[in-house]
Symmetry: C2
Subunit: 124 residues, 2 copies
DNA sequence: AAAAAAAGATTACAGATGTAAACTATAATT
DNA sequence: AATTATAGTTTACATCTGTAATCTTTTTTT
């Protein structure tokens, strides 16, 4: 039984909004999340509390009326770890293998790779 | 509640062996999986049954003594779908974005990208 | 044929997850 | 101040997942 305390799929939807908006009250969060399809406030609350329990989100008092919720880990950091997990799980950590698969599935085109090369060159 | 009938982490370990070996008896499977660290036969059985329930593995009678278990979906097909799910979930389907992240994390080097370009050229 | 061993099938169970209601304290309204 | 509304907190519950034991049916041994 792993104790990785990972961010679950439902929790990730919360985090995405918090990462984008930096800090939100519960109501703002519910409003944001309900843009696509209405979400149940109670459910959002539970997910938020779980994230707080996991030390991934913190609750900050804003005013008497409501608290604000802020992410405690950055999206970059999370993505890095998610990438590694995925790579390890699916391709035994072999990036080339992964890239080849994406190319085969037509997910990555030659043009995109060339663009990527340019970006890398610019950075050097 | 999603009904995607996905392959779970524990089940995936079974599938990896079945994909590699094509067809195995339970005992062979347990033996394979126990190479790294001993695995409980009962647990493997349960996972196997769940995969059968999900129509991901089929049980074929080999002889009176034991059945053989064979994958019903290919690793390629599974990987394709896993890639898409990951890409969608983490990068909103934006491959470039994903690639950039991998580059930033030093997971992908310039050399690897150039190698990849060569492979694509050869295939055309 | 009776007993033992092993394969196959079912049941169990704790923790995780998605979803949401119930309870409690505090702020807003009448 | 009493009532109502709402934020915050706790509890609930079905399904999923990892892990494994138990039961049942065959096969093998004695």
């Amino acid at each position: 039984m792993k104790m990785t305390n990972q961010i679950t799929d439902a929790e990730l939807e919360i985090m995405k909004v918090l990462w984008e908006k930096k800090s939100l009250t519960l109501n703002e969060l519910v409003e944001e999340l309900s843009k696509e399809e209405p979400k149940n406030k109670s459910t959002i609350k539970t997910l938020l509390y779980r994230l707080i329990d996991k030390n991934i989100v913190k609750s900050v008092e804003k005013n008497k009326k409501a608290n604000e919720y802020k992410p405690l880990i950055s999206e970059k950091k999370y993505l890095k770890s998610a990438n590694e997990t995925f790579l390890e799980k699916m391709y035994d950590g072999n990036v080339n293998n992964m890239l080849l698969n994406f190319v085969e599935d037509k997910k990555i085109t030659k043009e995109e790779i060339e663009k990527l090369l340019n970006i890398i060159d610019e950075r050097e």
